[in-house]
C-alpha cells in the first residue's frame, strides 16, 4: 500500500503500530545481554529483548511486540 513497510500492507497486521504482537520461536538465548534470537512464522529472524519474560529457553514460543517479548507461551508443540 505505502511501499514503505511490507508489514503495513492491507493483508498483514501492522505489528509495530497496531498494538498487536506476533508469536516467535526462540532459537538461541544470550542471558548476559538479556536477548534471544527468535524466528517468526515465515522463518525470518530477529533479536528480541527477553527481560520481561525471563527465564527463556531455546524452543519456547514468545509473544513479541516491537522487538520485546511480552509473554512466554511455553515450549512449541
Amino acid at each position: 500500500m505505502s511501499g514503505l513497510a511490507p508489514h503495513c500492507g492491507p493483508d498483514e497486521h501492522c505489528i509495530t503500530c497496531g498494538d498487536e504482537a506476533e508469536p516467535m520461536r526462540v532459537v538461541g538465548v544470550d542471558t548476559a545481554l538479556r536477548l534471544a534470537l527468535c524466528e517468526d512464522g515465515s522463518g525470518s529472524r530477529r533479536s528480541v529483548e527477553i527481560e520481561l519474560v525471563e527465564p527463556v529457553s531455546a524452543g519456547d514460543r514468545l509473544l513479541v511486540h516491537a522487538d520485546v517479548a511480552l509473554t512466554n507461551l511455553g515450549e512449541s508443540a
Binding site: 514503505l4 497486521h13 501492522c14 503500530c17 516491537a66 511480552l70
Partner: protein, 371 residues
C-alpha cells in the same frame, strides 16, 4: 501453526455462529464494541461480521494508536525532525499521518533525515552508530508498545547515551473507554477487550466497566474464532442478565498482566495530567510522559516544539468513527477524497484504522454479505 490454524477453522466458526444465533433475543439490537484496531482488521479480513445475526452490530473503538494521534502532535514531531543535525525515527504508519502542513513523509522529501524503524531498539542502534547526531524516536502506542520504549530508554540510560531522546505519545486504554461510556452519543451493550494490551495490564483494569456501567467485557485473541467466541460470551452474559470481565484469550493473557512490564513502565513513565485524543478531545490522565528519572531523554524538553492544538480538517469525521457514532462509509469523504493512498484522516492511514479496514476489504455500504 499451533494456536493459529485451529482458530481459523471454518467449520468451527460456523458452529460458534450458530450458538450466537441461539443466544440473541429476536427484536433486540445489540451493539458490541471491539476496542482494538487489530480486532477491526481481523473482523473484515476474515468476514467475521458476515457470520453474525442482523441484530448484532459491531462498533469500532478507539484502539488504533495511529488513529488517535491529533494533528498538533504530528506538527510537533515534524518540528523536531526539521532541526539541524536530527535523525528522526518513527514507525511506518506515522510517516503518512497528516499534520497541519503535510506529513513526516513530506518533511523527509523536503530534506529532513527521517527514518522508519520497526522498534525503538532500532532507533537506539542508530543513535549508537551516529554519536555526532541527535537521534529522536517518535513513540506511539498503547500499553503493548510502551514496554518496548521503556526498555529502550533503560538501555540508553545504562549505556550513558546522550544523543538519544523520545517524543512520547504513549496512551493508556482505560481512560478513553470511560470517556466513551460517559458519552451521551453512544449506547453500547458490551466490549471485546484488547488482547495484547491485556498481556501487559491484565484483565483487572477493565473491571470498572461491569462494576460502574453494568456492561460485559471479554478479552479476546485476534483469530476469527477468538472474536466469534468472545461475541458469544458477551451475548451469553447479556442473556443471563449478568456482567463481568471474562478472558477468552487465557492462552496468552494472564489475569494480572505482566508484572515485570508494569514495574518497568512505572519506572520510566508517569501519567500526563491530560492529553488530546483525535476525535475524543482532552482526556485526563490518559497518556504517558517520561518520569523525572528519565527527563534527560525527553525530546519535548530537549527541543522547542510548537505544542499547538490543531483542529481536524472539517471534511474529516474520524472523531465520529473513533467514537463508533458513524460507520466509515457514512463519512462524507470516505473512499473519494480520503483513501489509503491520499488519506485526510488518520483512520484511513493505519491498516488497523476502521476506515482502512472497510476500504481495503470492500465495505462501502451497510449491506452485509449473507453467508
Amino acid at each position: 501453526m499451533r494456536f493459529v490454524d485451529e482458530f481459523r477453522d471454518a467449520e468451527l466458526g460456523r458452529a460458534v455462529a450458530g450458538e450466537i444465533l441461539t443466544a440473541v433475543e429476536p427484536g433486540r439490537h445489540y451493539k458490541v464494541m471491539e476496542v482494538c484496531g487489530g480486532h477491526t482488521h481481523s473482523i473484515y479480513k476474515y468476514g467475521v461480521d458476515d457470520l453474525l445475526p442482523e441484530n448484532v452490530e459491531l462498533v469500532h473503538g478507539p484502539g488504533c494508536p495511529v488513529c488517535v494521534i491529533p494533528m498538533g502532535r504530528v506538527d510537533d514531531g515534524i518540528a523536531v525532525a526539521q532541526k539541524p543535525g536530527v535523525i528522526f525515527t518513527c514507525f511506518g504508519d506515522m510517516l503518512r499521518i497528516p499534520g497541519s502542513d503535510g506529513t513526516l513523509l513530506d518533511a523527509k522529501a523536503a530534506g529532513a533525515d527521517i527514518r522508519m524503524v520497526y522498534s525503538p531498539l532500532d532507533a537506539l542502534r542508530i543513535a549508537r552508530e551516529h554519536p555526532d547526531r541527535e537521534v529522536v524516536f517518535f513513540a506511539i502506542g498503547f500499553e503493548t508498545t510502551a514496554p518496548s520504549t521503556a526498555l529502550t530508554l533503560k538501555r540508553a540510560k545504562q549505556e550513558g547515551l546522550t544523543n538519544f531522546s523520545c517524543v512520547c505519545n504513549h496512551v493508556t486504554i482505560v481512560p478513553p473507554l470511560r470517556a466513551l461510556l460517559e458519552s451521551p452519543d453512544l449506547r453500547l451493550d458490551g466490549f471485546i477487550g484488547p488482547g495484547h494490551v491485556s498481556t501487559v495490564v491484565g484483565a483487572r483494569p477493565f473491571s470498572f466497566i461491569p462494576a460502574d456501567y453494568g456492561k460485559p467485557v471479554v478479552i479476546a485473541g485476534f483469530e476469527p474464532l477468538d472474536i466469534l467466541q468472545a461475541i458469544h460470551m458477551i451475548l451469553r452474559q447479556l442473556a443471563e442478565g449478568r456482567s463481568g470481565v471474562e478472558n477468552q484469550y487465557s492462552r496468552v493473557v494472564p489475569w494480572e498482566g505482566n508484572l515485570k512490564a508494569l514495574e518497568v513502565l512505572a519506572e520510566v513513565f508517569e501519567l500526563r495530567p491530560h492529553f488530546e485524543w483525535r476525535g475524543l478531545g482532552f482526556i485526563s490522565q490518559s497518556a504517558l510522559k517520561l518520569s523525572a528519572a528519565y527527563a534527560d531523554f525527553d525530546a519535548e524538553l530537549r527541543f522547542d516544539t510548537p505544542g499547538v492544538r490543531v483542529a481536524d480538517p472539517k471534511a474529516c469525521q474520524c472523531g465520529e468513527v473513533l467514537k463508533g457514532v458513524i460507520k466509515p462509509f457514512e463519512c462524507k469523504v470516505f473512499g473519494t477524497a480520503c483513501t489509503p493512498e491520499h488519506a485526510i484522516g488518520t483512520c484511513m492511514v493505519s491498516p488497523e484504522g476502521a476506515c482502512a479496514a472497510y476500504y481495503n476489504y470492500g465495505r462501502f455500504a451497510r449491506e452485509r454479505e449473507v453467508v
